[in-house]
C-alpha cells in the first residue's frame, strides 16, 4: 500500500483558519522551510497532509506560536537555517549559537527568586545542554533549556548529495532512534520510487524497530530508577539492556542496529536465524517481566514517581507532545495505530494509555509498551518463520516531496524529503520526537523541587543529537 501524503497550497493569510479547521482530531507535526516555502505538517487518520505556503519576496512569517505553542522551535529553526524573517514569536532568540555568543537565558523575576545554571557539561554520561533554573526556595519557578551544543548544520550539507549515499549518515543522526529514522527515510525513498516490499522484509523491519524500542525503554526505566535513588533497579535494567544489545549484534552485526534497515529492504545477512532469536527473546522477556514486577511492587520507589513532573493533557496537546510522554497524559498519538505502516498494518494494536501525566505514568506506559513489543516480536517472528529474507530491491528515484512517520521509542519520528529527479537531495528535514517533546520537560519541572530535575528529566529521557542536528 502506498504512503498517503498530500500537499495543498495555502496562502499565509489563510493558514490560521485552515489549521483551526483541521487541528481538531488531527495531530499537528510542526513546520519546516525549503528556501522560501514553508510546509506545515498534519497527521490525520488518512495520512500526512502538508499545507504548502510559499512566501513572497520580502514577506515575513507571522508566528503561529501564540495560538499553537508547539511551533515555537520549528519557527526558530526556519529563521536560523533558511533566514525566514520571523515575526511575533514570544522567543526570538537564535536557536543555534556559537560558544562566543550564547543568548541570554530567561530567568524568572520576583522576590526571593534566584537562578541556578547547569551544563553544558554534566556530571554523567549525557549529551550537552545548558539549563537555567529559576528557583524560589527549593521549588522551580521556571526552567530555560538551551540545547544547540550538538548543532552541526547537517541539513544544508545533505543538499545536493545523492539520496542513497546518505543512508549511513541518516542512521547516525541519533544513536537512540537510528532504526526508526532509517525506516522513515527508506519509506520516503520507496514511496517516491513507487515500490512495495516483500512481506518478509516488512516483518524483519518491524522486528528491528521493536528491538530498538526494547533497548531504549529498558534504558529509560533504568534511568528513572537512578533518578529515584533505586540503584538495584538501574543495575537490573542495564543488565537486561545489555542482553538485548547483544541480541541486536547477533541479528544485525551492530549492538544498536545501525544500518540494518536500508532502502529497498533490510541489509543482507540481517536476521539470518529467526528461530534462535525467538528462543532468546522469550528468555529475555521472562526476565524483563520479573524486573518490571519487582520495580512496580516497590512502594517506596513508586511514591517518588507519583506526582513528580506532572504534564496535564491540555498542556501536552498544546505543545504537540508525542510518544510515551504524551500517552502518559492520555493522548492517543501512536503512529503504529493512527497511521499504520509496513507490517503493523497486519496486526491489530491497541494503544497504551495512562492519565496521571507524572513520572509514574511515563514509567507505566513504558512498562506496558515493553510487554507489547515482546508480543509483537513473538508474532512477527512466528509469521516470518524460517524464510530466507530477500536482498534489497534496487530503486530508481524520481523527483518529488514526501513526509513519512515512524513510531520510534520516544514517539513520532518524521523525515521530510525532496528529490531533484536525478537522485539528489534538495531538502532533507528531520523532526524528531525529542524535538517535539523538549518544551514539555521545561513545563513539567515548574513547581517541582530542584533535586527532582534528574528524575523528571529522565522520565522523558530525550535525545539532543536529533534535536540539534
Amino acid at each position: 500500500m502506498a504512503e498517503f501524503y498530500r500537499e495543498r497550497t495555502v496562502r499565509q493569510h489563510d493558514l490560521p483558519a485552515e489549521l483551526a479547521k483541521i487541528a481538531n482530531g488531527a495531530l499537528l507535526l510542526g513546520c519546516y522551510a525549503t528556501e522560501r516555502t514553508v510546509r506545515t505538517l498534519v497527521l490525520s487518520k488518512v495520512g500526512v497532509l502538508a499545507l504548502r505556503t510559499p512566501l513572497e519576496d520580502g514577506e515575513a512569517w507571522e508566528s503561529l506560536t501564540a495560538r499553537y505553542p508547539l511551533f515555537a522551535d520549528h519557527e526558530r529553526e526556519m529563521a536560523a537555517m533558511q533566514g525566514i524573517d520571523l515575526r511575533g514569536s514570544p522567543d526570538l532568540r537564535p536557536l543555534y549559537f556559537r560558544a562566543d555568543a550564547i543568548p541570554e537565558a530567561i530567568l524568572a523575576e520576583g522576590k526571593g527568586v534566584s537562578g541556578v545554571v547547569v551544563g553544558p557539561v554534566h556530571a554523567g554520561i549525557i549529551e550537552p545542554g545548558r539549563f537555567t533554573i529559576s528557583t524560589a526556595g527549593e521549588s522551580v519557578v521556571h526552567l530555560d533549556a538551551q540545547l544547540s551544543y550538538s548543532h552541526r548544520a547537517l541539513e544544508p550539507w545533505f543538499e545536493g548529495r545523492h539520496a542513497l549515499e546518505l543512508v549511513p549518515k541518516v542512521a547516525r543522526i541519533c544513536g537512540n532512534c537510528s532504526v526508526a529514522r532509517s525506516w522513515a527515510y527508506a519509506r520516503a525513498l520507496e514511496s517516491l520510487a513507487g515500490i512495495e516490499l516483500d512481506e518478509g522484509a516488512e516483518f524483519a523491519r518491524l522486528i528491528l524497530a521493536e528491538m530498538e524500542r526494547v533497548h531504549v525503554h529498558l534504558f529509560d526505566l533504568g534511568n528513572i530508577a537512578a533518578g529515584a535513588g533505586y540503584g538495584k533497579g538501574t543495575t537490573a535494567a542495564l543488565g537486561l539492556r545489555e542482553r538485548i544489545n547483544q541480541l541486536n549484534h547477533a541479528v544485525s552485526g551492530h549492538r544498536l542496529l545501525f544500518d540494518s534497515i536500508v532502502p529497498g529492504g533490510i541489509r543482507v545477512g540481517t536476521l539470518s536465524d529467526p528461530a534462535s532469536l525467538r528462543t532468546l527473546l522469550r528468555e529475555l522477556r521472562d526476565d524483563v517481566k520479573r524486573f518490571l514486577d519487582a520495580f512496580f511492587a516497590k512502594r517506596s520507589v513508586l511514591r517518588r514517581l507519583e506526582g513528580a513532573g506532572i504534564v496535564e493533557e491540555s498542556l501536552a496537546r498544546r505543545f504537540g507532545a508525542v510518544g510515551p510522554s504524551a500517552r502518559a497524559s492520555g493522548i492517543a498519538c501512536d503512529v503504529r495505530t493512527l497511521a499504520p505502516y509496513g507490517a503493523y498494518r497486519g496486526f491489530t494494536l491497541s494503544e497504551v494509555q495512562a492519565h496521571s501525566g507524572d513520572v509514574y505514568a511515563r514509567s507505566e506506559v513504558r512498562r506496558h509498551e515493553l510487554e507489547r513489543s515482546f508480543d509483537l516480536l513473538e508474532r512477527a517472528l512466528r509469521e516470518l518463520g524460517s524464510v530466507v529474507l530477500p536482498v534489497p530491491v534496487q530503486i530508481a528515484l524520481p523527483s518529488g516531496t514526501m513526509t513519512t512517520l515512524v513510531e520510534g521509542a520516544r514517539g513520532a519520528e518524521s523525515i521530510s524529503l525532496s528529490l531533484d529527479g536525478e537522485g539528489r537531495v534538495e531538502r532533507l528535514h528531520v523532526i524528531s520526537a525529542a524535538f517535539r517533546n523538549w518544551p514539555l520537560v521545561t513545563r513539567a519541572m515548574e513547581g517541582n523541587i530542584v533535586p527532582d530535575f534528574p528524575l523528571v528529566n529522565k522520565s522523558f529521557n530525550l535525545c539532543y543529537s536529533c534535536v540539534d542536528r
Binding site: 562566543d100 557539561v121 554520561i125 550537552p128 550538538s150 548543532h151 552541526r152 547537517l154 547516525r172 537512540n176
Partner: protein
C-alpha cells in the same frame, strides 16, 4: 619512588562534543553488571577537578568548543584525554560535515584513541585501562 595511581582507579569526566549519543549509550553500558566498571575502581565524577581521565566524543561543535576547552583547563595534572569513537578519533560519520570539526580528540590532544561507531564496551574498557597505564607513568 613510583606508586601505582590509586591502584589504577580512575575518576572519569565525560565530555560530549557533537556525538550522536551512540558512544554515550555504550559508555553507559559499562555500568551494566556484565562489565561493572565499579569493580575496576572507576567512577564517573561530578567535576573535572576530580577527573583523572576525560573521555571525549563527537567531531566538535562550534557551541561546545569553549566549554570543552574550559573543562580540560579545569582538570588537575596529570590527566589523560581519551578519544571515544570514530567521530572523536577524526574518522567518523560527522567529521568535517556541516559546521562540525575534524574530531574532538585531535583538537583536545587525546593520548588514547578508542575506535568504533560506537566502540563496544570491551573496547572502551581496554582504552580506559590504557589510560590508567599512561597515568601510572606520568605519576611516577
Amino acid at each position: 619512588m613510583s606508586q601505582r595511581t590509586f591502584a589504577r582507579s580512575l575518576g572519569i569526566r565525560h565530555l560530549v562534543c557533537g556525538s550522536c549519543n551512540g558512544c554515550e549509550l555504550e559508555m553507559n553500558a559499562l555500568a551494566a553488571p556484565q562489565y561493572d566498571i565499579s569493580q575496576e575502581g572507576w567512577s564517573i565524577v561530578a567535576s573535572p577537578r576530580h577527573a583523572d581521565v576525560i573521555t571525549v566524543t563527537g567531531p566538535m561543535t562550534e557551541a561546545m568548543r569553549l566549554a570543552a576547552r574550559k573543562t580540560i583547563e579545569a582538570t588537575a595534572d596529570p590527566v589523560v584525554i581519551v578519544a571515544v569513537g570514530d567521530c572523536a578519533s577524526g574518522e567518523g560519520a560527522w567529521c568535517g560535515v556541516g559546521s562540525a570539526g575534524a574530531g574532538a580528540g585531535g583538537e583536545l590532544g587525546a593520548a588514547v584513541v578508542v575506535r568504533g561507531c560506537p566502540p563496544t564496551p570491551d573496547a572502551l574498557r581496554e582504552g580506559l585501562r590504557a589510560a590508567a597505564t599512561l597515568l601510572d607513568k606520568r605519576n611516577s
